[in-house]
């Protein structure tokens, strides 16, 4: 069984319907919501603020701390155990590394910027949604950034290269299997700040996937810019 037609009827390069909003959490210094298909993501930014314990402080620049959390009821029926897990800590780390290249925290020595990423509903692509929402929230908080970070998962299902995989596509078990690559891309410069892969892929498919990701990132970046500007209309 090959995978010619996508489960939800999308074209291979088509993304799921997206929506975004900024300023969703009034208590936070910056916040954003990003929804792509059935994945919903909230990001809240607090800070720059004083960092404790003291040994974590960096006297040269502020540090970024990311917290990633899937809510217990967010998955596909199975309860996600609350609290930090090995998985969530790793994802928090890669999100932090994806965001750091654009952030300039040199004005805030010894301080910390906290980013909280919460997912009330998930259908694959959560780390990408997290990066998209967090980057909007950081801009909303008035922090210095080189540019916005956009993120999307691309990959190969069966024998076709597709963008923005759903959970069902990631779990495809037919001939060829499934490979997904979450990527974070700085849309202006084309720099890649996150590239992970789960599965196997050949050279040609990899090249087409990367092209696909760049195009998709441009779309997401346009949405991010539009959303941020709409907040002040």
């Amino acid at each position: 069984m090959s995978y010619d037609k996508r489960y939800d009827g999308r074209k291979p390069e088509e993304l799921r319907p997206m929506s975004a909003k900024v300023g969703v959490i009034p208590n936070a210094d910056g916040s954003a919501m990003f929804q792509v298909g059935n994945t919903v993501c909230y990001a809240a930014v607090y800070g720059p603020r004083e960092l404790h314990p003291k040994f974590l402080q960096d006297p040269k620049k502020g540090i970024l701390r990311v917290n990633y959390n899937m809510m217990p009821f967010s998955g596909h029926g199975d309860r996600v155990r609350p609290g930090r897990s090995r998985r969530s800590q790793e994802i928090a780390l890669v999100i932090q590394n994806a965001l750091l290249p654009v952030l300039d925290l040199s004005d805030y020595p010894k301080a910390v910027v906290d980013v909280f990423i919460e997912l009330p509903q998930t259908d694959a692509g959560t780390r990408c949604a997290g990066i998209v929402a967090a980057s909007m929230a950081l801009a909303h908080a008035g922090l210095k950034m080189k540019e916005l970070v956009s993120a999307v998962a691309v990959g190969k299902v069966g024998d076709s290269v597709v963008a923005d995989l759903t959970y069902d596509e990631e779990a495809f078990e037919g001939e060829g299997g499934s490979t997904d690559m979450p990527m974070a891309i700085l849309a202006n410069s084309g720099t890649v700040s996150l590239l992970q892969m789960d599965g196997e892929i050949n050279k040609e498919h990899l090249a087409t996937s990367l092209d696909l990701a760049k195009k998709a990132a441009q779309q997401i970046s346009d949405l991010q810019k539009k959303t941020l500007k709409e907040y002040y209309q």
Binding site: P48, V102, G142, L143, K144, Y232
Partner: protein
């Protein structure tokens, strides 16, 4: 060489947005140069002043600057001074020497002057590269704030709340008969009749929300007249 402005004056821009092409434009505050382009580094309102392009941020924490007048809360009493929370990522220190216009004897009980939790209107006297901040109480109009109420607003909107040469805050003072002290750090102290204080708070909140729009002075006037 081609030079082109990609935006209009007073437009809202987001990080990464190209503002102008060509070496003829100079990147100011909140922008950086990428190759030949001037690019936004902050979200805010862009201002083109001749060849200089800068961005006025719309949100963000207060950062202490020398000569700013701020409202601080006493959070600790030290050996020879007070530690103040000035609504920013770094605490400020008010030394005994700058604490009062009268002489404070060594070893005196410092809580007599400013106790924990009390608010003072003070002036930033020194900021180091590590953002260690000193404040002083020596100066005209600087004093302990007793009674009244304190509200916190977005620190980036303070210039708008003060208005041109203090016009906006003067307007609120006149309409409500309240005493108002505006700290650059986003804290505002209001003291007067309780009902009038409410009106002043509503007016300030309105300015904060609509600071990036035009004609705020007139609508604030109308709002306060309606509430009277």
């Amino acid at each position: 060489m081609s030079e082109k402005l990609e935006i209009q004056n007073k437009e809202i821009v987001v990080p990464g947005q190209v503002l102008a092409e060509g070496m003829g434009y100079v990147p100011g505050k909140g922008t950086y140069r990428d190759d030949k382009a001037v690019v936004a580094e902050l979200m805010g309102i862009v201002t083109v002043d001749g060849k200089v392009i800068k961005i006025i941020p719309l949100r963000g924490k207060y950062m202490p600057k020398v000569r700013d007048r701020v409202i601080g809360r006493v959070i600790d009493v030290l050996m020879s001074g007070w530690r103040l929370d000035i609504n920013c990522p770094y605490d400020a220190v008010l030394s005994m020497k700058d604490g009062s216009s009268e002489f404070i004897r060594r070893g005196a009980d410092l809580t007599q002057y400013y106790a924990l939790g009390e608010y003072v209107f003070c002036q930033v006297s020194n900021v180091t590269s590590q953002n260690l901040t000193d404040v002083t109480m020596r100066g005209q109009g600087l004093r302990k704030l007793e009674g009244g109420r304190i509200i916190e607003v977005n620190a980036q909107k303070i210039p708008r709340i003060i208005g041109k040469e203090g016009s906006m805050v003067m307007l609120i003072k006149k309409e409500t008969n309240c005493q108002i002290y505006v700290g650059q750090n986003g804290r505002i102290w209001i003291s007067g009749e309780p009902e009038k204080e409410n009106i002043a708070v509503a007016a300030i909140r309105y300015i904060e929300e609509n600071a990036h729009r035009k004609g705020v002075t007139d609508s604030v006037k109308a709002l306060m007249e309606k509430l009277q």
